[in-house]
Structure formats: structure tokens, C-alpha cells
């Protein structure tokens, strides 16, 4: 299955996505980390996520760009975290944003379950300078396209999962 998990800042979407992964039999669990570590805050964030995942049997693959490079075993469950970082890296660090969606499609066919974390950044009513506005537009497009592919789309609202598409998984 493909599941898209969205939500705002600090809403508990990662925790819920990890729970969803853990609800599937462990036939290989891969965590695709997309965040580039460049300052103390991102170091702390990575450390917090690593601690959260500890003991859940994840193999961590670093992939800030070019998702198609990631090889996963058939039968595995993959947690891709997250689309906003992957897009930012492709867009602002010499990548190619058009390769994201095809790579997600291929990845979903290569593994058994693909859980994708994204972010809701669309409701602050602020008009940003050109490149940020373009980033928002592309992120929204990716979210919509991934939601079309997904069996389940879930918004996490302060730890409470709200299903937007498909069935509530047994988490």
C-alpha cells in the first residue's frame, strides 16, 4: 500500500507514520532520510528522529536528492521522510524537481508498503518572494499527485489521525 501522511509543524505525523510502518510485518524496514544536516538545529532534529525510530528495526538510507538511486528489497516497508525536504533539495541545491514523482512511483512498485510523510505549509496566508511561492506551488502539486497514487491519505492533527482517503489502517 501507499500511504501519504500530512500535517503541520510538530503535529506528530512522523510518530504516527512510524507506528503505521511498525504495524506491518517486518520484512525489511527502510527509512529514507532526506534532510540535509547543516546546523545545530538540524542535528538535534535528526537526533530526535533517530531516537524515535530506535528499536523499530529501520535501516536508514540518506537521500537528500535523486530518490531513484535508492534500492530497496521486494517485500520491504519504506518510510520516506519527507517530501518538503526532498523538494527543497532538488529545487534549491542543483537538482531536478521533475524526477521526484516518477521516482516515488518506481519506489512504490519496488517495495511492499510505501509510507510518505509530507507537510501542510499552505495556510499561513502569507505571499512569499518568488522562489518560495514557486516552492509552495510545486509542493502542493506533489502532494496532490501523491495523494492520487496513495491508497490512504491521513492528516495528523495534534497526534489524532484524520483519514482523508481510504480506510483507517490498524495502527
Amino acid at each position: 500500500m501507499i500511504a501519504l501522511v500530512t500535517g503541520g509543524s510538530g503535529c506528530g505525523k512522523s510518530t504516527w507514520a512510524e507506528k503505521l510502518v511498525s504495524s506491518f510485518p517486518d520484512e525489511g524496514r527502510v527509512y529514507i532520510a532526506t534532510m540535509q544536516v547543516y546546523d545545530e538545529e538540524s542535528v538535534r532534529r535528526v537526533a530526535r528522529h533517530r531516537e524515535q525510530r530506535a528499536g523499530k528495526g529501520f535501516e536508514t538510507v540518506e537521500c537528500p536528492k535523486d530518490l531513484a538511486k535508492v534500492q530497496v528489497k521486494p517485500g520491504s516497508t519504506v518510510l520516506l521522510e519527507d517530501i518538503p525536504n526532498l523538494l527543497a533539495n532538488e529545487m534549491f541545491d542543483g537538482g531536478d524537481t521533475d524526477r521526484i514523482l516518477p521516482a516515488i512511483r518506481d519506489l512504490s512498485e519496488a517495495c511492499r508498503h510505501l509510507i510518505i510523510v509530507t507537510n501542510d505549509v499552505f495556510r499561513d496566508g502569507i505571499i512569499y518572494p518568488g522562489s518560495t511561492q514557486e516552492y509552495i506551488r510545486r509542493l502542493a502539486g506533489l502532494n496532490r499527485n501523491i495523494a492520487c497514487l496513495a491508497d490512504t491519505v491521513c492528516e495528523v492533527v495534534y497526534s489524532i489521525p484524520v483519514i482523508l482517503k481510504g480506510e483507517m489502517p490498524c495502527v
Binding site: G8, S9, G10, C11, D120, V121, V157
Partner: protein, 108 residues
């Protein structure tokens, strides 16, 4: 405890008052988180303290996390802290209501 959330002015405060006559209502919990942060209090610990001290209260809050991550480190920390604190409150609450255009949807 009950939690009423939504975007700015979505009707959560009015309905919290109307639906819970006589209850202690804590309006604008997101601002309380900002004050807790400025006191140097951990947002989760702050939320747990409120659950312990006022377990029968009704809490209203604005959702503040659904925008572009702020450049300002303090604003970034604030948004995330509101999220973490409200996760604690939502877990502790018997009911969680989310408001859009004055319409509440019970999500827990």
C-alpha cells in the same frame, strides 16, 4: 479535559463556551505555550502540568503549524512547541473538536 482547535477565529472559542457552561475554559492555549517558552519551560512538560492541575478544563487553541517554516528561529521553535504541547493535550482529552467556518468536527 476537552480540546477545541481550528485556524484563527474559526468558532472554537464560542462553541467551547456554549457547549460547556460552568466549565473552566482556557482560551488561546497557543499563547500560553508562547509564555511557557519565554519562561524557559519545556512545552510538553507545560502541557502535562496543565493536564495534572486542570484535568476537567476545556482548552481552546489556534492551529499555527500549517505554513512555511519561519526563518526566525524563535518563531520556528514556537510553532513546533505549540504542536508538541497540543499533542499532549489531545492525548489527554476525552474529546477533540476541530473547527472550520464555525463548524466543529469531532476528531476524537
Amino acid at each position: 479535559m476537552k480540546l477545541y482547535i481550528g485556524g484563527i477565529c474559526q468558532g472554537q472559542e464560542e462553541l467551547a463556551r456554549k457547549d460547556n457552561p460552568g466549565a473552566e475554559i482556557l482560551i488561546g492555549f497557543h499563547e500560553s505555550v508562547r509564555e511557557a517558552l519565554s519562561r524557559g519551560e519545556d512545552p510538553r512538560a507545560f502541557a502535562q502540568r496543565i493536564c495534572g492541575e486542570k484535568p476537567d478544563s476545556v482548552i481552546t487553541a489556534d492551529e499555527v503549524g500549517a505554513g512555511i517554516v519561519p526563518i526566525d528561529a524563535g518563531e520556528r521553535a514556537y510553532r513546533e512547541a505549540v504542536g508538541r504541547a497540543l499533542c499532549v493535550i489531545a492525548q489527554f482529552s476525552r474529546e477533540v473538536w476541530r473547527f472550520t467556518c464555525g463548524i466543529g468536527v469531532r476528531i476524537k
